[in-house]
């Protein structure tokens, strides 16, 4: 079966910015899809990023055990950061990774 996978946010830097179609065995779960993706990511990066994500199947949150169906749209969702800036880390907080001076 085929599912359409759409990466969002920082995942686009790793998986490319457009939707991709993946061929999976019938009855594959969300967890199986993630295993498949893990194998395509460089070591190290994968564990960190994929362990913190949530998944939307056809625009609803889904759990790891959720069984996918042919034609499903699967959104890969890193921790969300809508709204305003983060409730500020008070003085002394560590700088954001990704390169403060």
């Amino acid at each position: 079966m085929r599912v359409h996978v759409i990466p969002f946010g920082v995942l686009k830097d790793w998986l490319g910015s457009s939707a991709m179609t993946l061929e999976l065995p019938e009855g594959a779960s969300v967890a199986a899809l993630l295993e498949h993706l893990r194998a395509t990511l460089p070591d190290g990066a994968a564990a960190g990023i994929l362990s913190s994500i949530a998944v939307g199947v056809n625009a609803e949150y889904a759990q790891a055990a959720h069984i996918l169906e042919d034609g499903d749209e699967v959104g890969l969702l890193p921790p969300v950061s809508g709204g305003t800036s983060r409730a500020s880390v008070v003085a002394g907080g560590s700088p954001a990774k990704g390169g403060a001076r």
């Binding site: 939307g56 969300v80 709204g83």
Partner: protein
């Protein structure tokens, strides 16, 4: 759609508006009103037509069925009734609630003043507004601008659900949530939440809960551009019920 079906639907709406409590009466009245007696509808057809009307968001039809559903007779096919209940509970309620809350994603500037004034109604005693704006620094670095993106279909659904939950949980009358997408400059509104309510304490609590929950669960992401580079904001960890349990994730064999 065939003329017969159009006529049936129009007839049902007129009959329903006349306030018959008994479903049988609706069916028999509808039959009388239909010009060609050969097309007189049975209970299942009336149920089906009501269902379609509800699915299309017809408030009148939904209210009728909600008020009088216990009168819908067993002769109507079981499957149809089951479908009808699905529409009432899932679609119907959602559609009924649509005019109440105002939920949107937009790439245009958010006109907070206009939206706030449109959120007020005579029955409100308080309107609490959260106007989230782009700040010029994060953790000591100067921010130049932000870019927001969303999983749009899902974000709108989530925002609708949050609004409905807030109304249910805090008893507020109306929730307005607008989130901006695309590039935002310093000082511009990124998210506007307006809660209208008879009482201020409920409005304050609901507003606080809405922004906190939005920041954790609504699929929107932000890329921050600083003088010395751009990063995706790290985001807040997902709540347990949404995060994928790392249950038995096989460690690389």
């Amino acid at each position: 759609m065939s003329d017969d079906r159009v006529e049936l639907r129009e007839t049902i709406l007129s009959v329903v508006a006349d306030d018959y409590e008994e479903f049988d009466m609706v069916v028999s009245e509808a039959s009388k009103w239909i010009k060609n007696s050969a097309n007189a509808p049975d209970a299942a057809q009336v149920t089906q037509a009501l269902m379609e009307l509800i699915a299309e968001g017809d408030v009148q039809a939904l209210k009728y069925v909600e008020d009088s559903s216990r009168y819908i007779p067993v002769e109507a096919e079981l499957e149809t009734i089951r479908d009808l209940w699905f529409y009432i509970t899932e679609q119907g309620k959602r559609r009924l609630s649509e005019p109440v809350d105002y939920i949107a994603l937009t790439r245009e500037r958010i006109d907070a003043d206009r939206i706030v004034s449109e959120s007020k109604s005579g029955e409100d005693g308080a309107v609490v507004v959260f106007d989230g704006i782009v700040r010029n620094h994060t953790l000591g670095r100067s921010t130049l601008h932000l870019d927001y993106e969303a999983y749009e279909e899902m974000a709108v659904r989530q925002m609708r659900e949050l609004a409905a939950k807030a109304r249910e949980r805090f008893g507020v009358r109306q929730v307005t949530m607008v989130h901006r997408l695309g590039r935002l400059e310093i000082g511009e509104t990124s998210v506007l939440i307006v809660v209208s309510s008879a009482h201020r304490s409920a409005a304050f609590e609901a507003c606080r809960w809405l922004i906190d929950t939005l920041k954790q669960t609504v699929p929107i992401w932000k890329k921050e551009t600083f003088a010395d580079g751009a990063v995706w904001a790290p985001g807040e960890p997902f709540p347990k019920e949404i995060a994928l349990q790392s249950e038995e994730t096989p460690h690389e064999a």
